[in-house]
Subunit: 128 residues, 2 copies
């Protein structure tokens, strides 16, 4: 699990191939291509205050980008980590984790899900 805070996500970008761009553009990788390719979906998810998903893992990992509010992510064996608008999260293939809203308000994120998800037991109640 890796969290790129909002303040860093738009910094330290690599220039893009000038043969395909007019003017200056730069980029940062969030998700590399899978070999072999795995079915990949993207969804917007909105959690009401205190709501979260159960422990789960994605065959090819997952990328989250927070678009509203604040909340938590936790990896099996680690402490909960706070996330907020503009943060990007990378869960590794097979890494059991959960994510959801703080008790004090909603959380919405884009999720890019690579391969099948495996679901486990209920996750702990999040903090504020």
């Amino acid at each position: 699990m890796n969290i790129t805070p909002r303040a860093q996500l738009l910094g330290d970008l690599k220039p893009l191939d000038p043969s395909h761009f007019a003017g200056r553009a730069a980029a940062r990788d969030l998700l590399a291509a899978q070999k072999p390719a795995l079915p990949t979906t993207a969804i917007v998810v909105r959690f009401e205050p205190g709501a979260r998903n159960y422990w789960h893992a994605h065959e090819g990992g997952q990328v989250l980008y927070v678009i509203e509010g604040a909340g938590w992510v936790q990896v099996r064996g680690g402490a909960p980590q706070r996330i907020q608008v503009g943060d990007a999260v990378r869960a590794e293939p097979g890494e059991a984790h959960w994510h959801g809203a703080a008790r004090s308000g909603p959380l919405a994120h884009i999720a890019i899900n690579v391969g099948e998800a495996r679901w486990f037991e209920e996750s702990p109640a999040p903090g504020d």
Copy 2:
């Protein structure tokens, strides 16, 4: 090409499977799984004012989510359409298009790219 404005992106969501969630959570699809699966990448791209990519098309389509600033997208044969922070854009498989920043400021977006990209000629200079 379909643009979902920021004001709609978090509205009209479908409740998620309660067997995998504690509390209430709802979602909207941005990208369906591919059959057969295509290699999928996700990147953050930041365009300087006036910068844009050349006309191009993605074998399996593309999803954009604007995270900074404002700019333009255009589909071959259509008029340029303005995009801004919080808007989501869906380009269909094989649909030739370009995207980039307004002349007056930068644009950054997340791009989810499905399958190989084909690149064409330079795109027109964007508006303010």
